[in-house]
């Protein structure tokens, strides 16, 4: 930032007024549809035959084909007119059947996880560990191949071709070994990248997060977990980075350890996480650099989990909630209701150097991560028991958590909704473990997706 860009006090007041007063609504669905429609004529069949849209051919061929087409149509019309004059009237043919996506129902393929890539394509991994990749609309799917491991821990495709998965191999002898597999060919082949890092707390360390922002840069956080409490903020942790696609992992110094995972804005650049006690880390460059500070009004013993982060201009808001009694066990039982907690809101305008606390949002039952679409608009999931569809809902607030509306989700126990943008989201199955998914638990775990902001959901059409 140059001197020219520093704001005077009156300018800063004006900026604050404008950013609070000008709060655009979401882009209407009709606009998304229009933009998609603009793209369709330009998208053709790719080499693998995955695309179903017609590509405009090269100009000379197009002219020749066009001439043939016009001639043919003219002849057919002339013949039709002549025949119509001599033939009796016949009933008009029925309208062609409308192509619709299947609505949610019992899944033929049980899906573990799925979502959108940054390229706008879809991916899914079923419970047999088979990778399925969808096109930009999720209409056409191909089977890429098996995952490299039986573990279903956090498979994720960052782009249409680059993905990764990981599992903790061992925690012993002062070392934690994490096996990380990466693919650069859309799941066709996988390469093992093993990270060996020193343990923090004997054999009880847990990996809080493994994340790749691209095929070179990634980081992981290890937490010295106290096994007598539920995992979460407030525990010692350490962060490691790779800049060579996972070949080498080095501790970050000074270490901004992310001990409860990171919440990210939709842009993938702005992220926030508690780093211990009341301290928060904020990145605005996709995790390359972090600014740490202490949140006001909290003590070092408070256990806060960052749920979401939203930004507009210089205003960054963090939405968090307290984890509650540290002696309580983590509530992951199939019948457990989602705990209700007040939404704590903090904001910064100086890239995370100083924070102020805004008015708390309403207490809501939130399971898993929340997604912010800017500093005022939030979506979250509340999870019901695995056998009760009606209890799982998509919650939405457009006034920074003050008031909420809810929409029923079509899958019981769902807790994973990821958003590509405000309209396109995916809903992954029942996070209750392999045994429950295989035996049914009365649910039908799969990947559903929406293109209207969660109003309607469609099953992946395998």
């Amino acid at each position: 930032m140059t001197d020219m860009d520093r704001l005077t006090d009156p300018e800063r007041r004006l900026r604050d007024m404008l950013q609070h007063a000008i709060v655009p609504p979401s882009a209407p669905a009709s606009l998304h549809a229009s933009v998609d429609a603009l793209a369709r004529p330009h998208l053709g069949r790719d080499r693998a035959g995955g695309r179903r849209w017609l590509r405009v051919p090269a100009r000379p061929i197009a002219l020749f084909a066009g001439a043939i087409l016009v001639t043919t149509v003219t002849l057919l019309v002339a013949v039709a007119i002549e025949r119509r004059a001599t033939l009796p009237e016949v009933a008009a043919p029925p309208d062609p059947p409308t192509t619709t996506l299947p609505t949610p129902g019992p899944a033929t393929t049980v899906i573990a996880r799925g979502g959108w890539t940054r390229d706008g394509t879809m991916w899914a991994v079923d419970w047999d560990g088979i990778v399925h990749l969808g096109d930009i609309d999720g209409q056409q799917w191909t089977t890429a191949g098996p995952m490299p491991t039986n573990a279903q821990t956090a498979p994720q495709f960052i782009t249409a071709t680059f993905g990764f998965t990981w599992q903790t191999e061992s925690v012993a002898d002062g070392e934690t070994v994490i096996d990380i597999w990466v693919t650069h060919d859309a799941g066709g082949s996988w390469a093992l990248r093993r990270a060996t890092i020193p343990t923090l707390n004997g054999g009880t360390d847990v990996i809080a997060e493994v994340r790749f922002n691209n095929d070179q840069f990634g980081f992981l956080s290890v937490v010295a977990h106290d096994p007598t409490t539920s995992a979460g903020a407030g525990e010692a942790c350490r962060r490691f980075e790779t800049h060579d696609g996972g070949d080498t992992w080095n501790p970050v110094t000074p270490s901004v350890c992310l001990n409860a995972g990171t919440a990210w804005d939709l842009d993938g650049r702005t992220g926030a996480a508690m780093t211990g006690g009341a301290d928060i880390g904020l990145t605005q460059d996709a995790g390359f650099t972090w600014q740490t500070a202490t949140l006001p009004g909290l003590t070092a013993t408070d256990r806060i989990l960052v749920r979401a982060v939203g930004r507009i201009g210089s205003l960054v808001r963090v939405f968090a909630s307290a984890l509650g009694d540290p002696s309580a066990t983590t509530s992951t039982e199939p019948g457990a209701a989602t705990p209700t907690a007040p939404l704590l809101i903090f904001e910064t305008r100086d890239d995370g150097v100083t924070w102020t606390r805004a008015v708390d949002g309403a207490a809501v039952p939130i399971a898993g991560p929340m997604q912010a679409f800017g500093p005022f608009w939030l979506r979250a999931v509340t999870r019901g028991p695995a056998t009760d569809r009606s209890a799982s809902q998509l919650l939405e607030s457009k006034d920074a958590g003050a008031t909420w509306s809810s929409t029923d989700l079509p899958v019981a126990g769902a807790s994973q909704v990821t958003w590509l943008d405000s309209l396109h989201g995916s809903l992954s199955g029942v996070p209750l473990g392999d045994a429950c998914a295989r035996s049914g638990c009365g649910a039908d775990p799969t990947v559903l997706f929406t293109d209207d902001g969660g109003v309607t959901w469609h099953q992946v059409p395998f």
Binding site: M1, T2, M4, D5, P10, E11, L14, R15, M17, L18, H20, V23, P24, P25, S26, A27, P28, S30, H32, S34, V35, L38, A39, G44, D46, D119, G120, I136, I158, T159, A160, N213, N214, D215, Q216, F217, D265, L266, D267, R269, Q284, D285, A286, F288, I312, G313, S314, V316, D351, A358, V359, F373, G374, F376, D399, A400, G401, A402, D421, S422
Partner: protein, 187 residues
């Protein structure tokens, strides 16, 4: 591949993500389609901030994307899509503002009041700010929105508008003088 642009942007898609869309997609048009899809929300928000109502913002954003498709071959570095499309969008918004005339510029939608106490300004103040922005001419309004709502730097604004930085500063200076008068009662 690493991102070297650490400054906050208007929002939405990142250079990192954009770079990957570019890197991984198979054809130029597929890359472009992915980029446009990722910028719908951001584009609409900026258009809304400039134009002040949903219908105009939707029209302008759609026009801008149509223009972007026609000019897509001019985009030599897809990692620059954000700035490149931003220029198209701002120009489209300027045309919309000029077409509909000054009188309608003063109308700014007032959204329902959030229930969060001091979360936002009250409706009356929002209307005052809308009126104050409406008192600016098109070019001054645009630089104010880009500078103080979208938090762009002076150089970035100059790049978006294809004008010298000095002109941006001059427009901001005049716009602030007008806004201070318009908002005197509410400051």
């Amino acid at each position: 591949m690493v991102a070297d642009d650490t400054r906050p942007r208007i929002g939405g898609a990142s250079a990192v993500a954009d770079g990957h869309a570019v890197e991984r997609a198979q054809t130029t048009d597929e890359v472009f389609a992915a980029l446009t899809r990722r910028h719908v929300d951001d584009g609409f928000r900026l258009a809304w901030a400039i134009l002040g109502d949903t219908q105009s913002a939707e029209d302008a954003t759609q026009d801008a994307f149509a223009m972007a498709w026609r000019k897509r071959r001019d985009l030599r570095d897809p990692a620059r899509f954000d700035a490149w499309f931003g220029r198209i969008l701002v120009n489209t918004c300027r045309e919309h503002l000029r077409r509909r005339g000054r009188s309608r510029i003063r109308q700014v939608e007032v959204l329902p009041e959030p229930g969060g106490g001091d979360e936002t300004l009250h409706v009356g103040l929002r209307a005052d700010i809308g009126d104050a922005l409406g008192a600016l001419d098109v070019d001054h309004r645009i630089v104010v929105v880009l500078r103080y709502w979208a938090d762009l730097t002076v150089d970035d604004i100059a790049d978006r508008l294809a004008i010298p930085s000095g002109t941006v500063k001059s427009r901001l200076h005049h716009a602030l003088r007008t806004l201070h008068v318009e908002l005197e009662d509410v400051r």
